[in-house]
């Protein structure tokens, strides 16, 4: 790791006024530029720095800022501080009971050692895991180069939807669940202002800008993730498929959130696919296939098939489609308490 100076912010305002650029900007900056980046848990930052992909001149430490590491709820919903660790998120009674899919997504992320340090904010702002992006030898489109190497290269872990010029999949597992819950993110800036934006709008695909994954602006500090209150009758399910059972990246994951009306019909349905696209991918056709319906095996199966309609698999990742369809079917049946029968 290259050497850097260290500045530990005591308040959000201090961090926001000290921060000069986003990590994405710092990675593409000239070597003589002032590359001042912020660090929460530091897991992704250290990874990028050890690979020589990010060479900050100064690291602003956010971890000691008080008040950003709690989960609280009131009538308006639930507020999750950006410094809450994945382990807190996996174990907290509010996330476990109200937002089960989110707690399960957090618990399925990384290793216990990483979950104790990695923060929710850092997880949402981490850079993609694409092996061409992570390879210093490949100057890919996301790093300001000419090509996405995945299209002609090894693309078994890449996107099956939305790969417009770059085929990364979004690296955050919890983001799949957060988008399904219609989460918003709260961002503070150096002027003392705050904006909140839907996470789904905050995460941007390559068709917007191939060199960044978020709408984070230089100097902004993510301070919280806000979740709407969950009315009675809402069920949420997160399912993930990886190559190994232990601490592995998703090859496909799914979050389903649905509410059943008094007559048992589905409303307020979210079906979101992870590891499928450069952003958490809302499966709108699957949502339409479930809305207003009573869930049975046929309806769940149709939702699974609808979820993969329109997919554009690459040379080596079409195997993801039946996995995604199966995960959607199982998640829908579980959320509706319908036992799956083996055909």
């Amino acid at each position: 790791m290259d050497r850097f100076t260290w500045q530990s912010a005591r308040t959000v305002a201090e961090a926001a006024s000290a921060g000069k650029c986003t990590v994405a900007e710092a990675m593409r900056a000239d070597t003589d530029a002032d590359r001042v980046v912020m660090k929460a848990g530091g897991i992704d930052l250290l990874d990028l720095m050890k690979e020589g992909l990010l060479r900050p001149t100064r690291v602003i430490n956010l971890r000691d800022i008080p008040g950003l590491d709690t989960i609280t709820e009131d009538a308006a919903g639930t507020r999750i501080g950006a410094l809450v660790t994945l382990e807190q998120l996996a174990a907290h009674s509010i996330s476990r009971q109200r937002y089960t899919a989110l707690a399960d997504a957090a618990a399925s992320s990384a290793t216990p050692q990483i979950r104790h340090v990695a923060t929710l904010g850092g997880n949402l702002l981490q850079r993609p895991r694409c092996w061409y992006f992570r390879s210093a030898a490949h100057h890919c489109a996301r790093k300001g180069g000419e090509h996405c190497f995945a299209f002609a290269g090894e693309n078994q872990y890449h996107a099956v939807f939305g790969h417009d010029g770059c085929a990364i999949v979004h690296p955050s597992t919890v983001a799949t669940a957060l988008v399904a819950f219609n989460a918003r993110v709260e961002l503070a800036n150096a002027q003392g202002g705050t904006r909140t934006v839907a996470l789904e709008a905050f995460l941007v695909g390559p068709e917007v800008d191939v060199t960044r994954e978020t709408d984070l602006r230089a100097g902004e500090v993510m301070t919280a993730v806000l979740l709407p209150p969950m009315p009675a009758g809402v069920r949420s399910v997160f399912l993930k498929q990886a190559e190994r059972l232990s601490s592995d990246w998703s090859i496909a994951d799914v979050a389903v959130v649905l509410q059943r009306a008094a007559d048992g019909r589905c409303q307020n349905v979210s079906v979101v696919l992870g590891a499928a696209a450069p952003v958490p991918w809302r499966a709108q056709k699957a949502e339409a296939a479930l809305t207003g319906r009573l869930i049975d095996a046929a309806v769940a199966n149709a939702a699974g098939e609808a979820a993969i309609a329109g997919a554009e698999p690459l040379r080596r990742n079409a195997y993801k489609l039946p996995i995604l369809a199966t995960l959607v079917r199982r998640a829908v049946l579980t959320a509706a308490d319908v036992r799956e029968t083996v055909p």
Partner: protein
């Protein structure tokens, strides 16, 4: 360390620690300048800065660059080489230590970021020649071959038993989820931990 690389500004706490650790506080003061803007947090590094780490119950004064990981500081200046560095990317968990009792990857944590949190390494588990029960069980159950993953494995298993005194085999597997053992000792490791669990009432 060339003089030009020395610390240029320090926090008050680091400054006080520094003066405590040096024979000449006055000389140190002359060598540093406190950040001019009183309302801005001080910038330290990139050269070595004085740091106090609480390791295995003792306060340790060390001089570290902000870019050094906890694993590097443990194995280097503190000579606690029980902690191993495998992948150096948080993927193998060989470097597992406890931070306030929770297992963390010391290779993915900057030493300057540890602060007042208590670090426990494999050297802190045994009491003199008396091994921790998990260490005894690893020997009794042949739970290691080359031994490289063992310190990290033991730290995670001992942390599990602190939290869950009577774990199931699945609890143990979840606790060692992130650990890689290239010798494939996993079944014996699970057996060893189950052998030292304390059955509930």
């Amino acid at each position: 360390m060339p003089n030009a690389d020395r610390t240029h500004s320090v926090t008050r706490r680091l400054f006080l620690r520094g003066t405590g650790a040096t024979a000449s506080g006055v000389a140190l003061l002359a060598d540093m300048h406190i950040a001019a803007a009183a309302d801005e947090p001080p910038i330290v590094g990139p050269g070595a800065i004085p740091l106090t780490l609480t390791v295995n119950g003792r306060n340790q004064e060390v001089s570290v660059e902000p870019c050094m990981t906890l694993a590097e500081v443990l194995r280097g200046p503190l000579d606690l080489t029980g902690t191993k560095i495998g992948c150096d990317r948080g993927a193998c968990s060989a470097c597992t230590v406890w931070l306030d009792g929770a297992p963390v990857a010391s290779c993915m944590l900057l030493a300057v970021d540890v602060g007042a949190r208590a670090v426990t390494t494999i050297e802190g588990l045994a009491h003199g020649d008396t091994l921790h029960p998990v260490q005894e069980a690893f020997i009794a159950h042949d739970a290691l071959q080359c031994g490289y993953c063992t310190p990290g494995m033991v730290m995670s298993c001992a942390a599990l038993l602190e939290r869950v005194p009577n774990p199931t085999a699945d609890d143990v597997r979840a606790a060692i989820d992130g650990h890689l053992c290239r010798c494939g000792a996993y079944p014996h490791i699970v057996e060893a931990v189950l052998a030292v669990r304390k059955p509930g009432p």
